[in-house]
Every structure is written in structure tokens, then in C-alpha cells.
């Protein structure tokens, strides 16, 4: 199979994806301007995530490619999230086991009576 057999992505698809990306950019700017409280960050991340998936799936031709490349990209993100999640598991919950002043111990383990 000579190199030329590679799938050529039609320009219409590329243009459609580009349009969708621009649209999503406008959406994310608008939604960020209005204060939606706590869902502001997840929403912005969701839109950015979908834009990223669009770029990867079509522009980077993952759709037409050997799926190992998709696995490699997915692994990249998975380990970035692992790094983030376990670091936040530390930074978010610090100092609540050592101090027994009232109100600071979220872990409901009553201290062991020293015999």
C-alpha cells in the first residue's frame, strides 16, 4: 500500500470542524462572562476538552489513523490526570488529622485513648 493510499480528509470536513471550534470559542467566552457560580470551571474545562478532542480527532487524523496513536494520546492525558488527582489529594486535605482543635478534624476517627 503505497504512501498515497492515506485517507485524505475532505476540505469540507476541515472547514466544518474549524467553524465548530470558532463557535465553541465564542460559547466559552460568553459563558465565562456570566457568573454561573461553582459550575463555571467545569463548564470551561468541558468546552476546552471538547475543542481539544475535535482537533485531535479530525485535524490530527486520529479518526483515520492506526488506533495505537489514539491509545498513546489517551495515556498521556490519563497520566497527567493521575499526577493532578493524587497531588490534589494531598494539597486539598492537609492538616486535618494532626490538629484536634474543634472543627478542624474532618476525619471522624476519635483519638485513641492512651492506655
Amino acid at each position: 500500500m503505497a504512501q498515497g493510499q492515506h485517507h485524505i480528509i475532505p476540505t469540507r470536513t476541515l472547514a466544518a470542524v474549524f467553524g465548530l471550534l470558532l463557535f465553541l470559542t465564542v460559547v466559552t467566552v460568553i459563558t465565562a462572562r456570566i457568573d454561573l457560580g461553582v459550575i463555571n470551571i467545569p463548564l470551561a474545562l468541558a468546552i476546552a476538552g471538547s475543542k481539544a478532542i475535535l482537533v485531535a480527532w479530525i485535524f490530527m487524523a486520529l479518526k483515520y489513523d492506526n488506533k495505537v496513536n489514539l491509545l498513546v494520546l489517551a495515556l498521556g492525558f490519563v497520566f497527567a490526570v493521575v499526577f493532578l488527582a493524587l497531588t490534589l489529594a494531598d494539597t486539598e486535605l492537609r492538616g486535618n488529622i494532626g490538629i484536634t482543635e474543634p472543627g478542624t478534624t474532618e476525619l471522624t476517627v476519635e483519638p485513641v485513648e492512651s492506655e
Binding site: 500500500m1 503505497a2 504512501q3 498515497g4 492515506h6 485524505i8 480528509i9 475532505p10 476540505t11 476541515l14 472547514a15 470542524v17 474549524f18 471550534l21 470558532l22 470559542t25 466559552t28 467566552v29 465565562a32 463555571n40 470551571i41 470551561a44 474545562l45 468546552i47 476546552a48 475543542k51 481539544a52 482537533v55 485531535a56 479530525i58 485535524f59 490530527m60 487524523a61 489513523d65 492506526n66 495505537v68 496513536n69 498513546v72 494520546l73 495515556l75 498521556g76 492525558f77 497520566f79 497527567a80 499526577f83 493532578l84 497531588t87 490534589l88 494539597t91 486539598e92
Partner: protein, 220 residues
């Protein structure tokens, strides 16, 4: 990648294997870029979760209009790169040169906008790290009001992230310049266009990183 077009390296069985190998190698390199930036996103996330009010307050100094413009410019450059791969697969090299020039132009605009942003900040004392002492009034915002604890952290992370991303854009521009000269000299054909494809993949990833950077820094 010798210049005589469709050379098949002796250690590969056929073109297909050589092309797939190059692509897998590029994807693995892109994963290292993702993890490089993941470090900075973790720093951003940790400091934002510790000081959300300082981050939202300090991000008011970033001009989201320029950020949005940069996003559109990068998306456009991604689009032109994707088109250039489309036409190099069809062998219409003249269109490829135009499209790559357009991509280079977009990248240049991106860097100019970034220069304007940085210039605006540096001139008012907003530096990463120790040099941070904002002053002056710019379109209604009194910069000296932004000198609060942990604001330096926000701007340090902002400058490190956009700085390293900017360096990647510059590297991309260099690659496109090199690519344009080679396309002009007719090195690529529908049978062999690997460098164009790989540079395109690299550029799309630089765009994806900015897609995440823009909302996190400028909008929320």
C-alpha cells in the same frame, strides 16, 4: 529525511512501515509535551485551589479580548495546517506553500499579540517572581490594588505557562519556515510528505495546549 524525496531507509521493509514508525514516534513525542505542560497545569490547579479569590481577582488584569483573538488566530493556523496536509496529499504544492505561509503569518500574529500583552504588563511592574510590584492605572484598573499576597504566584504561573507555550510557537514558526523552503523546492509528493504531517501534528498540539490555557488563565 534526505533531500532526494522518496528514499526508503535500508532498515525499513517498505514506505508504509517507515511512515507509520515516524508517526508513532511523533505521537510519543507529543505525549512528552503533554506531560511537560501537565506539570504547569498541576501547579496552576494547586495554587488556584488554595487561593481561588486571589486567582479570579488577579486574572482581571489579563485582557481576555487579546486572549480570545489569540485563540482564534491559533485555531485558524491549525485549520490552514490541516488544509496544507490535505493538498500535499493531492500533490498541489503551490497551494501548500500558500497555506504554510498563512500558518506562519498566524503564528507571527500570535507572537505579536503576546508581545503586546507582555509589554503592557512589564511596563506596569507586573513581572514574574520577585520583581512583582504593580503600579499605574490602565483602562480604569489601578494596578497597585493588585499587589496582594499570592498574586505573584498567579502571575509567575501565567508567565511560565504562556512563556513556555510561546517558545513552542516560535519553534513551530522555525519548522514552518524550513518546511516552506522544502515544499517550494518540490521535495514532497503524495508518496512522501512525512515532515509536513509531523510538523502539522506538533502544531495541532501547540494549539490544544493553548485551548486549555486560554479559559483557565483569561476567563475564569
Amino acid at each position: 529525511m534526505s533531500s532526494t524525496g522518496t528514499t526508503l531507509k535500508h532498515y525499513f521493509v517498505n514506505h508504509e512501515q517507515q511512515f507509520d514508525a515516524a508517526k508513532l514516534g511523533m505521537w510519543l513525542f507529543l505525549v512528552t509535551e503533554i506531560l511537560l505542560f501537565s506539570g504547569m497545569f498541576v501547579a496552576y490547579a494547586v495554587y488556584r485551589s488554595w487561593h481561588p479569590e486571589v486567582f479570579t481577582y488577579a486574572s482581571e488584569l489579563l485582557d481576555w479580548r487579546l486572549g480570545a483573538l489569540n485563540t482564534v488566530v491559533l485555531l485558524a493556523s491549525s485549520f490552514t495546517v490541516a488544509l496544507s496536509i490535505h493538498f500535499v496529499q493531492k500533490g498541489e504544492n503551490d497551494k501548500v506553500v500558500v497555506l504554510l505561509l498563512l500558518t506562519l503569518a498566524c503564528a507571527a500574529i500570535f507572537m505579536v499579540v503576546k508581545y503586546i500583552e507582555y509589554e503592557g504588563k512589564f511596563s506596569h511592574g507586573v513581572f514574574p517572581g520577585a520583581g512583582f510590584e504593580p503600579h499605574g492605572i490602565v483602562d480604569g484598573k489601578d494596578y497597585s490594588k493588585y499587589d496582594i499576597p499570592f498574586a505573584p504566584q498567579f502571575f509567575s504561573i501565567y508567565f511560565v505557562m504562556t512563556g513556555i507555550h510561546g517558545i513552542h510557537v516560535l519553534v513551530g514558526m522555525g519548522l514552518f519556515g524550513w518546511l516552506i523552503t522544502r515544499v517550494a523546492r518540490g521535495h514532497f509528493s503524495p508518496q512522501w510528505y512525512t515532515p509536513v504531517e509531523l510538523t502539522g501534528l506538533y502544531w495541532h498540539l501547540v494549539d490544544i495546549i493553548w485551548i486549555f490555557l486560554f479559559p483557565l488563565l483569561y476567563l475564569i
